[in-house]
Subunit: 400 residues, 2 copies
């Protein structure tokens, strides 16, 4: 009895990549899939029709934000987030654990979850495995995520006068914290599975943690995958560690996950991270980069990103990417006009560049799907120079 069906339609001849299709109560999406993020049941300035126009088949909502506003009870009365935001395709919600812990300076972690101050009105709020499942059931997304303990992957910074002994203890403390997070994540997963009230409608994914410790990752896979869940995610990646560390963890962890279930790499990322992870066998991705960068006038192109506020675009009559078929590029909006919108603080600028950026990632996914089907990885790398480029090479706003 599962809300989700996963078919693998083809496999790459060169690596572990798979071409597939996930079917949910609100329709199907092709994998490898990129899910743009509609945090608070809205993707910034994009209407559902505009989201659909980017080729996005599934989108992500944030349970933490919806829990605080408009609240689970209200969304339940509405019939869930699909009806609330008028998106009739598949939706995934994350559990809210990461946000509850990271968005509040006063968050307190305990065996029952996280107690924190609401960023809206400062009131004391609690979110844990039971309440997260309850609110995710109320939100009604097709795929919901287990509530996990997201311990910081990086070693805390050293104090200025730290001695050798202190450093050893700091490393030991961090290792103990990761171990504790691992064990708590498994206990919470048990609670999530028990608390999940709608398994026939909503597919619960487990989340593997373990930071950059491969032994911990292996043990996390064993524990999390002991549950027969419809899908599994790799969490705690791309939280500040370098691209090599991401590669090491993903290439180690993805193949350990059940072959027949969709694999979701949370919060990743740049084009080359996605291609690397697909080759390691990952099927699903989400990232705020297209919309967050879009809001800041940073546009993705196949040759790398460009900052549209740069004065050199003031008389540039070309679209962001002449090869792009998005509403902004195919609509003939020039770089000069987009730059004007940002300097004049017109909302249309963030909307159009976000539309373009999401389409950029969806076109990448389509080409990745072609690369898998036709074993055309060299063609992919040749068509997308940004994959070979450094992870983040933003232009400066000013000309030299």
């Amino acid at each position: 009895m599962s809300a989700l069906r996963f078919q693998i339609l083809a496999r790459s001849a060169s690596n572990r990549a798979r071409l597939g299709r996930v079917t949910t109560p609100h329709g199907s999406f092709d994998t490898p899939a990129f899910m743009p993020v509609a945090t608070a049941a809205a993707m910034k300035g994009l209407s559902p029709a505009q989201i659909r126009g980017t080729g996005s088949q599934i989108i992500l909502n944030n349970a933490y934000h919806l829990f605080l506003r408009p609240g689970g009870d209200r969304l339940e009365r509405f019939g869930g987030t699909h009806r609330f935001m008028r998106w009739d395709g598949p939706i995934l919600t994350d559990s809210g654990g990461y946000q509850a812990y990271s968005m509040s300076d006063t968050a307190v972690l305990g065996e029952d979850g996280v107690t924190f101050r609401s960023f809206i009105d400062g009131s004391k709020v609690h979110l844990g495995p039971d309440s997260s499942m309850r609110v995710q059931n109320q939100i009604g997304a097709d795929i919901i995520m287990a509530f996990d303990d997201c311990a910081p992957a990086a070693l805390p910074e050293e104090g200025a006068d730290e001695r050798r002994l202190a450093r050893t203890r700091r490393i030991e403390d961090h290792a103990r914290r990761l171990e504790e997070a691992h064990e708590r994540t498994l206990r919470w997963l048990d609670r999530c599975v028990r608390a999940h009230a709608r398994p026939q409608d909503q597919a619960l994914f487990g989340i593997v943690q373990g930071a950059t410790d491969l032994d911990l990752r292996r043990r996390s896979v064993e524990g999390v995958c002991s549950h027969d869940l419809p899908g599994f995610a790799i969490g705690g990646v791309a939280v500040g560690e370098g691209t090599d560390a991401i590669r090491k963890v993903v290439e180690f962890t993805a193949p350990l996950l059940p072959e027949a279930k969709p694999r979701y790499l949370m919060g990743v990322g740049y084009e080359r991270d996605i291609v690397m992870a697909v080759a390691a066998g990952v099927d699903m991705f989400d990232c705020v980069l297209p919309t967050r960068n879009g809001r800041n006038a940073n546009a993705f192109t196949r040759n790398g990103s460009i900052r549209l506020r740069n004065a050199r675009f003031a008389d540039d009559h070309a679209p962001i990417d002449p090869s792009c078929d998005c509403e902004a590029c195919a609509g003939g909006f020039s770089r000069a006009y987009l730059r004007h919108l940002f300097t004049a603080e017109e909302m249309l600028g963030p909307t159009l560049v976000s539309v373009h950026n999401i389409r950029h990632f969806q076109r990448l996914m389509m080409d990745i799907q072609t690369a898998i089907r036709e074993d055309a990885w060299s063609w992919l790398l040749g068509s997308w120079p940004c994959i070979g480029a450094g992870r983040e090479q933003p232009e400066t706003d000013e000309q030299p």
Copy 2:
């Protein structure tokens, strides 16, 4: 040799209203027409497709804003504002005189125009009849407006210790200022007509001034209409005076304007002001109300406006106006969702409510056109209770 053709297709049996069509180099629009305002070559969050979807056939740009940014030379290199903002229908630009004078505390008025500080970088800028025509030629709108002297219509406020003699002098000063503005407006119109470089592509409209002084209005009509221009506007209305004063001026002035030319009432207004002016023989309107109110969560309905931030809408599953066919209402976006977008500061809220508000005014214009054709004014008033309501009756944000 004119860039504009005006056909009167029907006349009301009950009043001076006319049904017509204006044809420009970028297509036609039906009159009475409502022109939404895309100040800086963008209508806030609306794409041209969304503007078109509201039924808008002609839009307005602001020469003052485009003069300062991105500048006339840049727009000319682009081939004008149509190509810049990707709107292929008719566009009207105002002259910038009103903004230059009213948006700067340091504006200095002289015989050659207004010198003021740019709101962008504080630099000293000059705009007058010659430079306004030049920049409007560069922007390339289908209809351009004469640069006029917009003297404040209202009597300046009295000082706290004003004596009777001082009051008399204040009234005399104001009358002298209006007289001076009238004469200067006529001198500037001569200069505009001479400076206009593209009369075959762009129709220049003259603007009648005179505040609430009907004798001055009559003399202004005589002076302005001594030029054989393709259209005429009534300026200096709805600048703070009450709805009765608006009615007095419009009902006096509109019938004095040439019968065969389109008549444009600048910056008006609320639904009942528009219906009153149509009945007096006005053909064209513009107003920022739909977008400005939309940005602030104030939605127009046939029964009056509603403030969507109000808590009473938090669980309201109905659209803004169940009878409306706009992207927001027909798309099924509820008042509760729109309220959520505003409280969560999501850009989609202002966009959707602006779309609705513009559509509200376009549907009013369609019904006005029907009322003229079928002499159905009682039907119009019955269908639009807001026409009979007070000029501005905003709801409070809080419930009692």
